[in-house]
């Protein structure tokens, strides 16, 4: 997956603490164009903190967070907003706007960033995004009327609607039954192929690691403990790595 273009995300010696709790320790890692990387780690290992540092929701204590060649902590609010249009984020909780219909949820980012805002264009893009996740019939429903799996798909459609170049997934299969989880994993793979986006997936779901990852980064005790393909890590003799694959 190495390309001449260089990484779309470059993290170098990233540190983040909350009081005395040192969550990320000198974490370094690159995400390359059109690559799917899964960050694997136990609950509370700092995976979500890592992804929030990348999108600028948290400020690192030290280290480099570089996205599309720009240092995230140094960007002002307007630059950060412009950069975020190119980076989609799928929240673990889906974070759909409860007071809005599915259509309004999808229109929200569109109306704020699309220059061509006529009704037909917006409708077309909304329906295209919903069709991509197989839920075109839910367009006028409220999020509360949808099942967990459907909400996840709608959240993914909202993430995709601005056609981001990087997609960050925070625990995309957590809380879903195995069948729905597998459907979401397949969607992630399809989306990556269709949009040619780079994906960083935070997960502890081994099916997600097995099927969606080109590369796996193991986050243990806040450090980038091991990097490799699923097969490489599965063959590892290291005790800490092995316990994930047993």
């Amino acid at each position: 997956m190495e390309t001449a273009q260089g990484p779309v995300i470059h993290l170098d010696k990233l540190n983040k603490s909350f009081g005395s709790n040192h969550v990320l320790r000198d974490f370094s890692f690159d995400l390359h164009p059109e690559e799917n990387v899964v960050v694997l780690g136990k609950s509370g290992s700092g995976k979500s903190v890592l992804i929030k540092c990348i999108i600028g929701l948290l400020k690192p204590d030290s280290g480099i967070v570089n996205v599309f060649g720009k240092d995230i902590p140094d960007l002002d609010q307007d630059e950060l907003d412009r950069m975020r249009v190119k980076v989609g984020f799928l929240f673990q909780s889906n974070a759909l706007y409860d007071s809005m219909t599915v259509r309004e949820n999808l229109e929200f980012p569109l109306r704020r960033h699309l220059i061509q805002k006529n009704r037909e264009t917006v409708d077309e893009l909304v329906m295209e995004a919903l069709s991509n996740v197989g839920l075109a019939n839910t367009v006028d429903m409220m999020p509360s009327q949808l099942s967990g799996g459907m909400r996840k798909r709608i959240a993914l459609a909202r993430t995709l609607i601005l056609k981001p170049e990087i997609i960050l997934y925070d625990e995309p299969t957590t809380g879903l039954d195995p069948i729905t989880a597998m459907e979401i994993i397949n969607l992630i793979i399809e989306v990556q192929k269709k949009y040619k986006a780079s994906s960083l997936i935070i997960s502890h779901d081994m099916n997600c690691v097995k099927y969606a990852a080109h590369r796996v980064v193991m986050l243990i005790d806040g450090e980038c403990y091991a990097v490799g393909t699923y097969e490489e890590l599965k063959r590892s003799t290291d005790t800490k790595v092995k316990q994930f694959f047993e």
Partner: protein, 257 residues
């Protein structure tokens, strides 16, 4: 002793946080982009949707104040002063303060709970990562809507409560429509009306900013949402009285009474 010190420390830290939040409001308010559509939507929810409750309360207050005041005035042979006394009480104090308290309960809790729930379910973060400034979109619009809608509600409450006063005056006695309103408008001066309207802008601002502050800084899951809504009502109601006290003192010092 230690507990008192900690309580003061917590109180002062909270005051500092609210002040920072308020400063941020002014900073974001002055900076484009302006969220006109959301401001209109919030004005509709805060203004129109509260009109019924504020109207009913104002009507009952006007009616009750008149009925309660009548026997005392009759005792002193001053029944003819009823419209004058009631109108000054209602316009200067009762209608604006009661409207603001109703709004602190209805709007303050609703803003606190809505933003609190959005915070704990990561909807505010989702807004931020989609390149939208959530402070501007959620906080600035709600505070502005509360600041401008509550004075309108208070003016309507003035009118409705005065009408309630008219009906109250006619329950035991007989006061003609023309006589009642002539006496009301003869009595009321700009010095009664203007300060009472000006203070409602401050009431609205306080209700909006406290509701947003409590909701926006909500944590600890669903329990935190309940706490935010509750704290928004309690603090905003208290602030309404504090602002009222300051404005009454100021109008007195400036000899506007």
């Amino acid at each position: 002793m230690n507990t008192t010190y900690q309580a003061w420390q917590k109180f002062l830290a909270e005051v500092g946080d609210v002040s920072r939040f308020t400063l941020r409001f002014f900073k974001e308010f002055l900076r484009p982009r302006y969220e006109g559509q959301e401001l209109l939507r919030q004005s509709f929810y805060i203004g129109y949707k509260s009109l019924g409750l504020v109207g009913i309360t104002a009507f009952i207050m006007g009616l009750v104040i008149t009925i309660q005041s009548r026997p005392t005035l009759v005792e002193f042979g001053a029944e003819a002063w009823l419209p004058k006394m009631v109108s000054v009480s209602l316009v200067r104090e009762i209608a604006p303060v009661i409207s603001a308290l109703i709004c602190a309960g209805k709007i303050g809790s609703s803003i606190g709970a809505e933003l609190g729930s959005m915070k704990v379910t990561e909807q505010i973060d989702a807004m931020e990562v989609s390149g939208t400034n959530p402070f501007k979109y959620l906080v600035v619009t709600r505070v502005l809507a509360a600041t401008f809608m509550i004075p309108i509600l208070a003016v309507l409450a003035d009118a409705i409560s005065l009408y309630g006063g008219y009906l109250g005056a006619n329950i035991r006695g007989v006061v003609s429509w023309d006589l009642y309103w002539n006496q009301v408008f003869d009595t009321l001066a700009y010095a009664d009306i203007v300060p009472s309207i000006i203070k409602t802008f401050f009431f609205g601002f306080a209700i909006g900013i406290i509701g947003c502050y409590k909701g926006y800084n909500s944590n600890k899951g669903t329990e935190g949402v309940g706490r935010s809504a509750n704290a928004a009502v309690v603090v905003a109601s208290l602030l309404v009285f504090v602002i009222d006290l300051i404005v009454v003192q100021l109008t007195d010092v400036l000899n506007l009474t």
